[in-house]
Symmetry: C2
Subunit: 356 residues, 2 copies
């Protein structure tokens, strides 16, 4: 049975990527060696790293003056690392709190200086994106999270500000076009649209670095990673290699512009059914709905277990909502095909026919 993988991350990757990754685990490019047993200093793996960085630059139209890094530790490492590199000892930073992930970023940054939470949607369980806020001019940077996987909200506009902009794009990077030039630092765990867990993408504006005046441990120092071209320490080779394959797939398909069109079509299909179906209800503010992670509930939550059971019977994997909020979440990352969304929509229709 075909599995329709709605996992929130690690998540679906293209079948062709899985096939090529598996082949490389046996024999990379006819070297007689597996991609996982090759020195990261070999010309083969240096080639993989270079190509991965070039693909990020190409697919996201990264302007001159930015560096692309592949690190480890996920966004959870970046919460602390970004503040350590961008927040001076007597500095101040502004954060927008849109849920679990931005709250974690705030918590780690508070270890390093004054953090002003300039906007929050906590009052309504984070089911919307704050809009009426003013970014102070005296902060060292503004941090926000573009897409909130747990509650299913997403920024539709880049916050207006003249201060440096730091953004956690873990769950929507490469899902839609983005103007990199507006940012000083973008970070993203790989395990949504990029590849397997274990790699972390960082895009950083070079002239924004080295200004915090702190002593930074080597492993947490963007400048050092830039100087060492992501090879300060042994990189997560397999994860990076598979990110490269996924980006090649994306390029082949038409790039970020094309995938954005497809992602919007998938989201429209599902949200239309959520809104039409008498049994279901979306949980995020309509204007802030995430293209990546639609969240919804059954108006009668006594039907939850049955709907979940029927979804599993239909080959649908991973639509149970995050343990902190319940309900349902259909994560529809780049590699999920619209045919899989149709299977979910059909199930919702059928469910309404039986219980409606």
């Amino acid at each position: 049975m075909k599995i329709h993988n709605y996992s929130a991350g690690p998540c679906i990757l293209p079948q062709s990527v899985m096939q090529k990754a598996a082949e490389a685990v046996i024999n990379y490019n006819n070297t007689g060696l597996s991609i996982i047993e090759m020195s990261h200093r070999s010309k083969e793996f240096v080639g993989v790293m270079d190509r991965s960085i070039a693909l990020v630059k190409e697919l996201l139209s990264v302007p001159e003056g930015y560096e692309v890094l592949f690190l480890q530790g996920g966004a959870s490492s970046q919460f602390y690392m970004s503040a350590l590199n961008f927040l001076p000892k007597d500095g101040k930073a502004a954060y927008i709190n849109t849920g679990t992930w931005s709250a974690k970023a705030i918590k780690e940054a508070k270890l390093l200086g004054e953090i002003e939470e300039i906007a929050s949607s906590k009052d309504k369980k984070f089911n919307y994106i704050p809009k009426d806020y003013i970014v102070p001019n005296d902060v060292n940077y503004l941090h926000y999270t573009t897409n909130n996987t747990i509650v299913g909200t997403q920024f539709k506009h880049v916050p207006e500000t003249d201060v440096r902009l730091i953004c956690d794009m873990s769950s929507d990077i490469m899902s839609q076009e983005v103007d990199i030039s507006k940012y000083d630092l973008i970070y993203a765990g790989a395990q949504k649209n990029l590849g397997p867990a274990g790699a972390t993408l960082v895009i950083v504006k070079c002239d924004a670095l080295g200004k915090a005046g702190r002593t930074i441990p080597s492993i947490l120092d963007y400048q050092l990673h830039v100087a060492k071209e992501s090879m300060y320490n042994t990189p997560p080779c397999f994860s990076i290699f598979t990110c490269m394959l996924t980006m090649e797939w994306l390029k082949e398909l038409g790039g970020v512009k094309e995938i954005e069109k497809r992602n919007k079509a998938k989201a429209s299909l599902l949200y239309a059914e959520i809104d039409r179906n008498s049994l279901f209800e979306g949980t995020a503010a309509v204007e802030d709905r995430s293209i990546m992670n639609p969240t919804f509930i059954l108006k009668n939550d006594e039907l939850n277990a049955d709907f979940l059971a029927k979804s599993i019977e239909a080959g649908i994997n991973g639509i149970k909502g995050h343990r902190s909020v319940g309900g349902f979440r259909a994560s529809m990352y780049n590699a999920l095909e619209i045919e899989s969304v149709q299977v979910l929509v059909d199930l919702m229709k059928e469910f309404e026919r039986v219980y409606g």
Copy 2:
């Protein structure tokens, strides 16, 4: 042509592990999902994590009172993290300097307090393990590196001390039996004997934690990772899964005791040839020779390029010495078979016949 993989890390893994890892990248355990697209919270991956931890405990006879973690960032992250968790603000730690890796550990720890380098083999380019040193009683811990991949030396005894013991075992973990109870913290990047790059094994004595009195960022806090059972953030799933496969292979083969016997046989075979062959010379002090990374030179270094070319012709990969020291290095991790060592030995004999 069969490749004899002497890479220093990432390095050779058992062929059967590569086969199983590749299969799981296509379809893990008949779930219809790839191991790289499954939620880390799925019962399948939680099972992988639990089994990996159980295998570490079994293979290394980890006593009660210790926790096993799988983190990210490699030993290079642990250099700072270990000091952050074990060195109080007004504390002092002792380090033994046996080369590049311990020097890096010292550098990062110095950001956090007083570091006493109680012994060093720098006077002889780190070609031996210091023996005449006294560990002060007033330090918070002693740190050392068991095996030094670049210079090919290895501790043959655990330093005698009553203070807490922290050890970087990146390059010889699970290659030989070790008395875990002597240590308070052991860390090891996965990419030698455990699996692919991207995972980091930590074995920590629980009652040694929480005593530094520092505010520790979440991602660098062993106690938090213990409480969250290595799932504080998304773990490097594929790397951990492949570590599990490698440990299953090791268990099947007879465990650490058996692999130690095989590793010693491989090392004896190569060192005997290095000592016998009139063209070659070992570079590490005989009594401190590494079982994992024999290092050697050609007495006439004009022959280097030719020997390297002939080794590649013979299917031997990765015996060029580290760029910082030159010469040759034959890294012989657990999965390298003695037949591959024989190929190298035969080549050395043939080389002597031609040039001797």
